[in-house]
């Protein structure tokens, strides 16, 4: 697992109160990890803060799973 994936997992565990084992690449924030729409907004903000970047809204809308978040960040974090 990449360093980015590990940090993403920790943020999700912290914010959503789920077990690490649940945070699989396929896991959907809302369908699988118990997040509501506000939780998802907060998660995106945490990713922005942790990785010091800005995720435009139209990109954020496409981040629904753990894997999609990791892929976006691996591509955009300098």
């Amino acid at each position: 697992m990449s360093a980015i994936a590990e940090r993403v997992k920790q943020i999700i565990v912290e914010k959503l109160g789920v077990e690490e084992s649940e945070v699989t690449p396929e896991a959907n924030f809302q369908n699988d990890l118990g997040a509501d729409s506000l939780d998802t907004v907060e998660l995106i903000m945490e990713f922005e803060k942790e990785f010091n970047l800005s995720i435009p809204d139209d990109q954020a809308e496409n981040i629904g799973t753990v894997g999609q978040a990791v892929a976006y960040l691996e591509e955009n974090v300098k």
Binding site: L16, G17, L38, E42, M45, E48
Partner: protein, 417 residues
Amino acid sequence: MSFKRVVITGMGALTPIGNDVATYWKNLVAGVSGAAPITRFDAERFRTRFACEVKGLDIHDYIPRQEARKMDPFTQYAVIAADEAMKDAGFDADTLDLDKAGVIWGSGIGGLKTFEDEVLNFSDGGRNPRFNPFFIPKMIADSASGVLSIRYGFRGPTFITVSACASATNALIDAYNYIRLGMMNVCISGGSEAAVTNAGVGGFNALKALSERNDSPETASRPYDKDRDGFVLGEGGAAIILEEYEHAKARGAKIYAEMIGGGMSSDAYHITAPHPDGRGAYMVMKNTLENAGLQPEDIDYINTHGTSTPIGDPQEIKAIEKFFGEHAYKMNISSTKSMTGHLLGGAGAIEAAACIMAIQDQIIPPTINHFTDDPEINPRLNLTFNTAQKRKVDIALSNTFGFGGHNASVIFKKYEG
């Protein structure tokens, strides 16, 4: 249409002198002060560096971390107090009509810490407008009633009353009236506040409302003492379960007391100062006794607003003497804020609980920290100084007065079937 009777069937408390009703009451009767140096934030540069904080509390013993972090402390306090009260009331989840169950809570300010944290974050972050999505739902004062409604599935009337330091009393009056009118059977009422923050202490300091007796926090809240110098900020809250009498009787509920009246008045005078003649205080007591159908001689105990401010204390006392006449010298009067500090919008809730327990145990909790008589306060009054007093307590009155000139009082009576 005849009004229904309303009884108290559950209580919960989270206070600076006890994190449940039993401990709170034991310490009230024992005369324990809840004041101590502030731990919630670094108060070193503040004029007042002490408060009555809730102590020894790990929120996560009561509320899972993921839920707790979406609540301002004033809502966390509401949940902890309400959980105790709901357990105490012992409703049967299978038969309780949730559409006829409500939540009417009081808070003077709401999520002050949440507001402060988010704005500080905005300011420290170069004014980049990135606010947490939970900011508004955590901060708005009604969130406590919303969270409690969701928590217990109560689908009747749910809202918050805001009238500064009278808020929880207004909540109790609304709950009482809606049950009397048959609009609900059961209501979680009460109130909570969590204003021991930079902005809370700093704001009240700017008003010169707080005691600055930093060298002796535990003796700082001294209502009716000649050397009182302001109120001591407190935090916490209490939940009071109000229930329609026949509903309570049908399920064999434990009944603490009956609520028999509530009344309001306004000073229409000044945004923070009470009317110097105690006009509003006089009228609220008059209105409340009329609402309850009582005569002045019927009152055994008044739990006063008595915040320990130089101008507030005498005007309430003068109003009591004027309204009650000779009976003013026959009843017991005390300010339990001498022990708990002033919980602002939560004050009416913890003081209602004190009145109900006084009726239960037939004992008056004291006004502690009395050292020097104030020539402005008539020594014929029994202000229950320093030590609890046993006496017959059938009927107790609780007074609360808020900034804005809002006055609200409630009356509880011994339950007699």
